[in-house]
Symmetry: C2
Subunit: 653 residues, 2 copies
């Protein structure tokens, strides 16, 4: 137990991790026995538990802590909603087709993969390809045409490729097409040329009801369900802003050619917050609590300059310097950081990247992504967008249902302005059916135009012109223009929306990568060092054997742990204790309780910690009390070692 744990004795081995996750059924391709479908995955028992523990912690960290209003809205959505929100027209990716095979590829991914492969080939040719490769990898490489053999590129081409890659997300579809032509980018699997990029809408379409008259889409985000209920939510919050709604639920995106495991899927669980705030005041009441949290920031100017170097900065400074636009956005970035670190994400592999202009979703005015580094590079796991008043405004305009906040002003605002009043009788008699047109022209005039008209009428007649070019001459008996006083005691505004949006599958997968290592003495013995707060099972109960005499104690310990709110499982399978512990190291189970003959005689059990494999011994009551505190985080393993004697393998015999 005194031996310090060396988690980096072996370098990260993705194949080993994937084998483990598959064998222990964290997740697996859905419909596998039917050959599977790209981008659809099922979570097995440990994956489901890990996911629901992450969700439970998310609920506590965000919803409960901040009194957010939780929602559960439908996935199936009638088409008019997404026509208004802009998703039907613009929620699309650019795809290209292989001109001979018809295979469909995502245009930006194609450019990225081919240029990265050429840069790797260049490095190899320059003798810079450092990592030795295993036989396996080499075999794969020969088949994979996206990795050409070592070819050195001119220095200026290398610079150009690096510049393209640094701002890849900023290119439009036609620009991606030009890049393919200019740099002779072909389908790496076939070497065939590809078509011009075309847009492909990412929403799954369906039809509601038996007559086929109501087209619908599966939501690609939960957000619209929040916005459409805004009036009810505001009412529930007694008419006050700021407040937030939150929703955890399934969303769907018909990705063009998903290939990256849980990182790019067609069906996924999201957790989204919509925080409604007065556009004139985006300060946050609790900003002081997070002011000193330091984040690695990558702003849009740095990226536009072709660099990806992050800058560590406290949230307070970033807001003060205008790098993060306002306190509310800064507050949520810090809270996102704290959440991710709490569930086990390595803070040194977490950065916040600002979107560039063309990259931004059609509804956003500013956006920062929490990106987590993993074996495929940096992956967007949480988006934090300022959607401004976009959504509430478009839905309100479309439906005529006002989605606004009405605030009583402490001091009524008094304004004066020129106001026209018509003598409708005379107007109608003089102009007949053009009377309405004339009223519209005058009512649409600004202060200056009204004053001019007033002046002209004071001196006789005035001529006005309609939008279709017709002229009307007005006499003073038709209308009077006077300065009037208006008192406004209510302020009405459309709130702005700050949206932190979490992709739970991506977080779950990167967390598994960050948690995985192998024991120094044996690379085959993989461990998932998941924090207890999210670990699928907290305690494994391991009887020495499946003999019936252990059953009463197993039942007692299980039931006491359940009462203490600690989720445990029993493993009485017919294999050695060491093998059972190794299996549970792979499942990320942080603690183990061994029940043996000494337990029956002396009521002692041993307590094992996953990462150190250290073992302590104590009475059933002492050990359950200790493990309960370990699991809820009120003590750590060092403290447990001070409380209970180490088990040297002899006491229990």
């Amino acid at each position: 137990m005194a031996t310090p744990v060396n988690k980096t004795a072996h370098s990260f081995d993705k194949t080993r991790l994937e084998t483990l996750l598959n064998r222990r059924f964290f997740y697996a391709p859905a419909f596998e026995i039917y050959g599977g479908v790209a981008g659809l995955y099922d979570y097995g028992p440990p994956g489901s538990s890990l996911q629901s523990n992450i969700i439970a912690e998310w609920r506590k960290h965000f919803i409960v802590e901040e009194g957010m209003l939780e929602l559960d809205t439908t996935v199936m959505t009638p088409a008019p909603v997404f026509e208004t929100s802009g998703h039907v027209a613009r929620f699309a990716d650019w795809m290209v087709k292989d001109l001979k095979t018809g295979e469909v590829l995502r245009a930006d991914h194609l450019v990225k993969n081919v240029l990265e492969a050429r840069l790797a080939g260049d490095k190899e040719a320059r003798g810079l390809a450092a990592q030795p490769q295993k036989e396996d990898d080499k075999k794969k490489k020969r088949k994979d045409k996206s990795k050409p053999t070592a070819v050195q590129l001119p220095d200026e081409v290398v610079a150009e490729y690096e510049n393209i890659l640094a701002q890849l997300d900023n290119f439009s579809g036609p620009e991606l097409g030009e890049l393919c032509t200019k740099h002779k980018i072909t389908n790496p699997d076939t070497d065939n040329e590809v078509s011009e990029p075309q847009q492909f809408n990412l929403m799954f379409a369906s039809s509601i009801g038996p007559t086929g008259q109501h087209p619908g889409f599966l939501r690609p985000e939960t957000a619209q369900g929040h916005f459409l209920n805004f009036s009810r939510l505001l009412d529930f919050n007694n008419g006050r802003v700021p407040f937030a709604s939150a929703q955890i639920g399934r969303s769907f995106r018909n990705e063009i050619s998903p290939r990256a495991g849980l990182l790019r899927v067609r069906e996924f669980t999201m957790a989204e917050i919509e925080h409604y705030v007065d556009p004139a005041d985006k300060n946050h009441e609790r900003f002081a609590e997070v002011r000193n949290v330091v984040l690695d920031l990558l702003d849009r100017h740095t990226q536009a300059a072709g660099s990806t170097r992050v800058r560590p900065l406290s949230v307070g400074e970033a807001v003060d310097q205008g790098i993060i636009a306002n306190e509310t956005l800064g507050y949520f970035l810090a809270r996102i950081y704290l959440f991710l670190v709490k569930i086990g994400i390595n803070p040194r592999r977490l950065r916040f990247r600002q979107h560039m202009g063309n990259e931004m979703a059609h509804y956003a005015t500013d956006c920062w992504d929490a990106e987590i580094e993993n074996s495929t590079g940096w992956t967007e796991c949480v988006g934090c967008a300022d959607r401004a008043a976009y959504d509430l405004t478009v839905h309100s305009n479309k439906t005529g249902h006002p989605l606004v906040v009405r605030q009583a002003l402490k001091e009524p605002v008094v304004t004066e302005k020129e106001t026209a009043e018509f003598n409708k009788k005379v107007l109608g008699r003089t102009f007949g059916k053009d009377a309405g047109t004339i009223q519209t022209i005058v009512n649409d005039m600004d202060e200056a135009a009204l004053l001019r008209l007033k002046g002209e009428l004071a001196q006789g007649t005035a001529t006005i012109t309609s939008s279709d070019g017709r002229e009307f001459t007005l006499a003073p008996d038709l209308l009077t223009i006077e300065r009037k006083t208006f008192k406004q005691s209510i302020r009405e505004f459309t709130p702005n929306v700050i949206e932190p949006s979490f992709g739970l599958g991506r977080i779950l997968y990167t967390l598994l990568e960050h948690s995985f290592w192998s024991r120094e003495e044996d690379v085959e013995r993989g461990v998932l060092s998941l924090p207890a707060v999210v670990a699928p099972t907290k305690v494994l109960i391991v009887p020495l054997s499946a003999k019936e005499e252990f059953n009463p104690l197993i039942r007692e310990v299980s039931s006491k742990l359940r009462q203490a709110g600690v989720f445990s499982r029993v493993d009485d399978s017919n294999t050695s204790i060491g093998r059972r512990y190794a299996r549970n190291d792979e499942l990320g189970t942080p603690y183990g309780l061994t029940i043996d003959f000494a337990s029956i005689q002396n009521r002692t059990v041993t307590l094992r910690e996953r990462d150190t494999t250290g073992q302590l011994i104590g009475s059933i009551e002492e050990v359950i009390a200790t493990v309960t505190e370990l699991v809820d985080g009120s003590i750590d393993w060092a403290e447990a070692c001070r409380r209970l004697p180490a088990y040297d393998g002899t006491q229990a015999v």
Copy 2:
């Protein structure tokens, strides 16, 4: 506080409940500002919390208590899966069209509504329509043509209608069409005739991927996701049965014309258990624990006899008498009962009804529904089906992937049988390309046929016939038939599946009906008596006013409750304490803590109970300790009244 609560002073008023649920945003029609879509509802904050509390309790009662394996599988499903499962061909309802307007109606609902209305009209004509109607109802009635004015029917017609209604679920589509013709059933809204019933598949269709080549469906149940992962689950369970998988998730059914609020929707959350059991042993290890639970049973024989009279019977007796087919089915029916009662369903309005032959889903061999009575009648809320080996067998046959359990036999089974062995050289030389046909014919022979053939060959040649009628004459040098011994040490079988399947929205809605009442002194003061375990908010903190001096105490009490795991909300809105409590009675909040000036001076707070409106007083610490025990169910209000003095309205001033 001494006054007993009279919850039935006012009869149940559905309109009042619906108004409350809408105003307090338990749920609302989805896309309401777009005019809504039938059968789609959004849950607001109290509805979402109520739902997630029901789910949490379900997880504890079933998954944790029984160590079930939780899954989270995808909604989007490729078409071949549902072709194999039979859903593409058979998961359909019968619909009819109004021959003039084209309106689409569900055939069985049409028959039910029209016949029930005629029976009601008959009762009225016979002077038996007991309940006086309010003006409102009468107005509605005049518009609603499904309720004809009082017309007396002949006694034999009444008997016929009642008989039809008692077994309505048992009719096929053509039979429903015959009923419409025979009884002159027309669309009650228009009096127009309706078409012959046609099948309408209830699955929502979509297409996976950019090329449109992969048709898919949204799952109508979560079950297939369990079955397709059976091998992985069995492996995770170390190869042993019985065990169960469980999943909570969204499913979709494109209902023909949903009209009944949350009771019939197009998108809903289900909780499903698939319990895998040895078909040769459907006993249950824990059956003794539920043997004495008494259920109101309505078996299929009673229904076939035209009656709906339930029979209260203990689960043990019902299994002993063969009414419930086996212990495992009985065990789950009892566990379902215990769960429903625990979350607040009235046990006197809960019955278990067995499906009749034609009513059963295509995959089921036996099925019992937990039906809960509500204002629309008896509603299926939980189905408990014995799906036998249906699903595992069809998927296994289709994919060639064995979905079976392999059990090592303690004693190998030794069998002897006649076995044919061919001399392939001679066979090929004699019969050429027919050699294979001949082998197939012989290998397909049963023991008796082989013995006959053996006898014939012993005496010379024998003639055999192929399925297409060709004759072959065999000589003894072609094959030998001998008695051989076989030893089998592994037993292989397809497990049977018992499936308890919960519709959470239906349970949630009927629970709201069962919980609703109005105070005797004022019918306008509605209360939802939800048990604390599922109540959206457990404790409301009510400061006397929004004055800042109360803030430190509010923060202290909130934070102490959060630490104790009790979910609370603060209501500091600018309205009287009584009004705030009335609002929270409508939200089902069981307890309230009032913070007033005495709290600041003496650190006392009052504790209010929702149903009795009784109030106690104590120190902050005492009250928090008491309310924590009340919420977790370890004490009741009577015990709290023994611990803390009643508040008479003066102590705190």
